[in-house]
Symmetry: D2
Subunit: 93 residues, 4 copies
């Protein structure tokens, strides 16, 4: 069981849609479509991936981190550090 | 012909790899892998998409915008505005 | 008392340094310095602000959110939602 | 003369406002204001810096890069590469 388990189907649906967007990008390049239009589509795919990340962070805080905090001690500390590091990677990517 | 035409194969190869990363993300979710590991993989895919965007912007400046500037006048002005808008979307996504 | 109270002096020092960077940017513009050099300095100031944000998010999770989770119930839920919203704003800015 | 010279006063005004925002952040920390409120204000300052960057990139393309392209040759090539590198730093910061 993971924090996101309850919404697994929703995440899979979103990721399949993003996969479709990335295939669409390949078709655009194959058809020599206009650079700016390709860029607009990449921004859409990036935003969609970002939204998936933000959803996972929320679930992770709500479940895994919350549980670790409830248990307390070093485990809690390590879980918060791990979450903060993931958030930092997300902000910087 | 587009700014990126000469490197079309390279872009297609990178986008196919990103498509593979997004399918890998679906497998991770299906297998209930750990949220933080999923997040790390999403960051990798996002960075790869961003690198494609930055490559396209460079080609676009180098070819389409350069040509419009060489022609001058309103066309040049409109092309720079369009490029700046695309860069702004990229920075904000 | 806030999550960041213990490191208040450190945050103030970093913000004063950022203030100095922003004043430096004004001098660069006044002296007509080269656009690219101004951009490099803005990136430095932005990264420094981002690092302050990431530090505050970590403290916030570690203290305010942890305490709310320990209390449980609706308060915990609301605190996590609030933190997730702040993280989303950070990722998108 | 720089690409941004015509709008120098506007940029200075915006940077002075950002300096004020950063001083406001110091007051918030001194007064132990709520972490989430501090984060919201940092996002505002970051967005304002980003907007200054995007303005400078636009001016830079419109003036410095355009002029280099009009001159052509290696100078043009180097200017576009330099602009692309600055855009990449901006996207990644």
């Amino acid at each position: 069981m993971r924090g996101y388990s309850q919404e697994k189907d929703d995440y899979l649906k979103r990721l399949r849609r993003i996969e479709g967007q990335v295939r669409g990008l390949q078709r655009m390049i194959e058809n020599d479509e206009y650079c700016i239009d390709v860029l607009t589509q990449i921004s859409a795919a990036t935003k969609a991936l970002q939204a998936v990340s933000l959803g996972l962070v929320d679930e992770h805080l709500r479940h895994c981190v919350a549980q670790a905090i409830a248990e307390g001690g070093e485990v809690a500390d390590a879980k918060v550090r791990e979450a903060s590091d993931a958030i930092a990677r997300l902000v910087r990517s």
